[in-house]
Amino acid sequence: MTAGRRGALRRAGTRLVRSVFRVGWPRSRAERAAAMLSSLVLHVHPTRVRARVLSPSTTLGLGLVSFYLFALLTVTGLALMLYYVPHPDAAYRSMKDIEYATTFGMFIRNAHRWAAHGMVAVVFLHMCRVFFTGAYKRPREFNWVVGVFLLLLTLALSFTGYLLPWDQLAFWAITVGTSIVAYAPLVGEPLRYLLLGGYEIGQAALLRFYVLHCVVLPLAMAALVALHFWRVRKDGGIALPPGPARRVLVWPHLLFRELIVLVLVLVVVHVAALVANAPLEEIADATRTPNPAKAPWYFLGLQELVHYGAVLGGVVVPAAIVLALLALPYVDTRPGGAGVWFARERRLANAIFSALALAVVALTVVGTFFRGPNWAWVWPWAP
């Protein structure tokens, strides 16, 4: 090949790459800023952020981890949809097929399961972080509200996914969960009927949960996540204490750290999926109740409360918690302490929130580990 031909070929190649990436691999500071601005994905970030943003202790990266887990759940969920059949006659068998007759099926199901559980936990921790750093204060009130809805969506996604394996665990957890729904005054029974598409957990309920789990709720989640991210930018970036305004380029400093977090998330989910299998019990049987029948673990705090009083635990407490969370940024309007962990001037607010968060955790732990047959108290280490 002549030198002239080679040059023409290289130029054509460059033209092709440049038609996709306008800036190319950035080398100068100006190009790094331009690369951020010219990419659909990257322009979620500004070109420069305050150096403080890079410190892991600022946010613990929990929002980012939640997002990565959601992305991972989308990918593994789409894969599972290739084999899963949402019908009571076929669902359980298709789960067995995924586990035992599909290459990497067990691994992908495990990854989906553990990432889902992890997402519930991490979204909760993210909310705690935002509270303890006072990051819901003006001008971020509305983004806190969006976050509360994202937490509810996360729970709803996890709950609707719980029924799909159509095993005893799924069937009775959803029996308990939808019975809690029915306790809501006036709307409870009709809501349960609408959710199940009938009076029983059967074909209609499975299909509804499937559509909610695979289409409706993920779309709502994606839309709200976009709003949540966009508002972070529009509200002036993540909440930081007043301090040195030194700024660093997002490319490479922040992007590199985000990549490390992605690697960590992938490693943790992979290891979890390799060492622990997602549970799959016997096929769902409406005539045989396991003892005890437990809701998914993140609702066991509620179930523990429902044990003391159905209306209290099933309606009053959850409604009060959600309303309090939604109202919080509009009630606590004092500007002090935003962006600082456990700020002195927010001692009272932090104490109240810590007590509530600890109560949620304690009730969940009790419901998960300390309740046995007939919901009687058991010691988890007892034989």
């Binding site: 609408l194 009076y199 005539t287 005890p292 429902v306 159905a310």
Partner: protein, 151 residues
Amino acid sequence: MNPRASRRRFVVTAGTSGLAAGSLGLLAALARFAVPDVLYEAPRRIPVGRPEEFPPESVTLLTDHRVFVFRTPEGFYAVSAVCTHLGCNVGHEAGRGFACPCHGSTFDEEGAVTSGPAAWPLARFALSLSRRGELVVDTRRTVDAGFRLRA
């Protein structure tokens, strides 16, 4: 007022309200559509057999329908096996009443709560005799605790 401006305002108002009404109507239609009118569930009027098939002074659990049928000297009655707390299936022990395995609610022979988190007694379903002389449980109709079917 400028007639053009007032005409424009009329068109804008009519247009937006039409759009709003149409959108709300569509949403309402979608919501109503999601409420099923036909259910492919087991029938809720269940023929359970001839009265003489139930021994005198007996309790029979119809597993698939989650209903207990009692035969007493005063007549027949049917008690739901679905716990009123969170929907688990209760078990029955003659003379000691019902117990729910999930959260420890217990009920007496009449289905009234004796302990545990359940807030309401077990449902009593209407019983009738079909023209062919079969007992029929109707789980759509609940009756009060005094109900007995003489058969």
